[in-house]
């Protein structure tokens, strides 16, 4: 029982990270129609800058806002400089241009921070665990990540459904041309959306940095899962990103946790682990293939 609850929490924590990334990506894709492979690079930049500043200043709480600010700035620069030119282009050009950006950003990180992964230090209040149920001391930090993720989800809900900007975002995701025809400064809207996406990606990176290894290429590891979440959730839908993100996070974690043990019942331990791990990794892609074949637009597609 304790084991299942613990693994569910782990899945929730991973799912929340996926949501933070997918929310931004789905808005960018939905509203601007751009496939941005380099979204993972923003996650990486957030992790690197946040961690480095935290190390230099000695405080995670200084690293956090600085990391967010820098990532948002990089996002704006990216949009104004490169992404803007891709709105009118076809998907192939978008894919290749943003792939090129991945190469550039990865190497830029090496130039600035070197090849070795950065060490992260958690603030004191986070370095222990809290007994959330008898026999289950769960790491405080992971609970923090879950809470932050849920709060952001709530915040985004309010932003998108209860504010004017949010209304424009929803309109843009539903029908871009119409919004433009209605006289909205679409260029400004795009930049704001992109910056928001970058901010969320950076937050995901900073939150993840004490747990995963802060190293070059960490963006690629998670960008595919993020795309899967976006496609399953429905392009342009933050609600879809939330539900699909949590769903995928939990399914992926539970598969990884329990499939190898099931297989170990009739296979040698090392083989069982390899097969279990491989099939678990395939899990989210199988899900996506299934969803695409049944509901090609995803679960909660926004557009007409």
């Amino acid at each position: 029982m304790v084991l299942i609850v613990e693994q569910l929490l782990n899945g929730l924590q991973y799912g929340v990270t996926l949501f933070l990334l997918a929310a931004g990506l789905t808005l960018i894709f939905g509203i601007m129609g751009v496939i941005n492979l380099a979204h993972g690079a923003l996650y990486m930049i957030g992790a690197f800058v946040g961690t480095w500043v935290a190390l230099q200043s000695g405080s995670f709480w200084i690293g956090l806002p600085v990391g967010l600010a820098v990532t948002a700035a990089v996002g704006v620069a990216m949009e104004v400089g490169i992404i803007r030119r891709l709105y009118a282009r076809d998907h192939l050009d978008q894919v290749l241009a943003t792939f090129a950006l991945i190469l550039i950003f990865n190497e830029a990180m090496v130039l600035i921070f070197g090849r070795r992964p950065l060490r992260t230090n958690l603030p004191e209040i986070f370095s222990g665990s809290v007994e959330i149920m008898p026999g289950l001391p769960y790491p405080i930090y992971r609970l923090f990540v879950i809470v932050v993720g849920l709060l952001v989800a709530l915040g985004l809900y309010i932003l998108i459904n209860k504010t004017r900007v949010g209304m424009l975002v929803r309109a843009g995701a539903t029908n871009r041309a119409m919004v433009q025809a209605l006289g909205v400064d679409i260029g400004r809207l795009y930049t704001v959306v992109f910056a928001l996406g970058a901010l969320l990606a950076g937050l995901a990176g900073i939150m993840a940095s004490p747990i995963v290894s802060v190293q070059v290429g960490m963006g690629e590891e998670i960008i595919l899962a993020t795309f899967v979440v976006v496609v399953i959730g429905g392009v342009g839908s933050v609600k879809g990103a939330f539900i699909a993100g949590l769903l995928l996070g939990m399914i992926d974690t539970m598969l990884r946790a329990f499939l190898p043990r099931v297989l170990a019942g009739f296979m040698d331990g090392s083989d069982a682990q390899a097969l279990g791990s491989g099939v678990s990794s395939m899990g989210i892609y199988l899900m996506m293939a299934l969803v695409l074949l049944i509901r090609p637009r995803g679960l909660f597609a926004a557009g007409a």
């Binding site: 992964p117 665990s129 290894s213 990884r256």
Partner: protein
């Protein structure tokens, strides 16, 4: 008169000190990624050891990025395009899995400062393949011995799912003798939340885990964060608690039991000379067993090169010279077994609070007399 002059000059030339050639040695090691510091330790330890032996060598150093294919392509180039006959340096067993056969196929010699997978230690042993560190299994058998001596009966053993990881769990299990639950992690895994949950669920007497490099740091930190550190003791082999990991983890490591074949508090002259040389050359960097193993490798290769006048073309002669192991090891007692892997002693250590406040590895007692590995008997050389 002319005759006399010619003879005299000939004798003069022969009497002059033999000008040793500069021997070219290929060093393929892991310099990038989270385990990059292991390669750096090996590279620098090798250099110090070679200079301590007095040999004149030219090192061709390349990064294998922990990828067996990259290592293979580099070895192919070194052996076939650059004419290098002696290779060394590999950190990881999966890279060794391709580079060693390639080297042997092309008539070269490989001397391992670290990786020594089980599949190359038994029937597949080869006269041109030498290991200076330890055989993979025996490195972890020591931890099994330690855990047994401390009275533990049940254990959870974790390691990444590659050759060295499998060797680790096999070695630990072999000597531990109690009930072992095996858990394999992914080779590039950095988030161990799932494994922490499984350990908690299994509730063993002791945990054994083999996660070298950056993975080791992550594992120990998360073990502490999960509230397991005070609850379930650990018995680790040296790669999981090397001095770099120790520095990054800090006080969280105090109390952990370790095992090793060498520690910086050893009393013999060779070890003290190495510790001093390292401190002089790299005062800001800790000295790990990786560097020590590479240092011994340097001493070994240097001693062999002296016997062949610095030449590496006669591979048979060089291999014979290496086999003699005519050097004084920093670990005290050292000799080659039947499969040209080491026969050595093993010690139990404990992480204690050091004099400067930080944690320190302290040697407690010897737990194994001179012993080789279980695969030597299968080697029919």
């Amino acid at each position: 008169m002319k005759h006399l002059l010619t003879t005299a000059s000939l004798m003069a030339v022969m009497a002059a000190p033999a000008w040793a050639e500069t021997a070219k040695i290929g060093v393929i090691t892991t310099l990038s990624g989270p385990a990059g510091y292991l390669g750096e330790q090996i590279r620098d330890g090798l250099k110090l050891g070679l200079s301590a032996s007095g040999a004149d060598t030219e090192l061709v150093i390349e990064d294998d990025a922990r990828d067996p294919n990259t290592g293979l392509q580099i070895a192919d180039r070194m052996l076939n395009e650059e004419g290098i006959k002696l290779l060394t340096g590999i950190v990881f067993s999966n890279v060794a899995g391709t580079v060693v056969p390639e080297t042997l196929d092309n008539g070269g010699i490989y001397v391992s400062p670290n990786a020594a997978p089980s599949n190359l230690a038994g029937a597949k042993c080869h006269p041109n393949y030498f290991v200076v560190s330890w055989q993979n299994d025996s490195l972890h058998e020591a931890s099994g011995v330690a855990a047994k001596e401390l009275g533990y009966k049940t254990a959870v053993a974790l390691a990444p799912n590659y050759q060295a990881g499998q060797d680790a769990i096999a070695g630990f299990e072999r000597e531990f003798g109690g009930e072992v639950t095996q858990i394999y992690t992914a080779v590039d895994q950095s988030d161990f939340a799932g494994e922490m949950a499984q350990i908690r669920d299994a509730n063993p007497d002791v945990v054994f885990q083999f996660h070298p490099g950056g993975q080791g740091i992550g594992f120990l930190k998360q073990y502490q964060q999960a509230g397991l550190l005070g609850k379930i003791p650990m018995a680790l082999s040296e790669p999981s608690i090397d001095t770099v990991i120790l520095k990054a983890v800090g006080d969280a490591a105090i109390g952990i039991t370790g095992t090793t074949h060498w520690n910086d508090d050893f009393d013999n002259d060779a070890s003290k000379a190495m510790v001093a040389a390292w401190a002089a050359e790299y005062p800001d960097r800790p000295l790990t067993t990786y560097a020590q193993q590479a240092y011994d490798t340097g001493l070994l290769i240097g001693s062999a090169l002296k016997k062949t006048d610095g030449k590496t073309d006669d591979v048979e002669a060089l291999a014979a010279a290496i086999k003699e192991a005519d050097f004084t090891s920093t670990r005290g007692l050292f000799s080659f077994g039947q499969n040209q892997h080491p026969v050595q002693e093993w010690f139990m250590t404990e992480i204690v609070a050091g004099p400067d406040g930080g944690p320190k590895i302290e040697t407690k007692k010897k737990i194994r007399e001179q012993v080789g590995d279980v695969y030597a008997a299968d080697c029919k050389m």
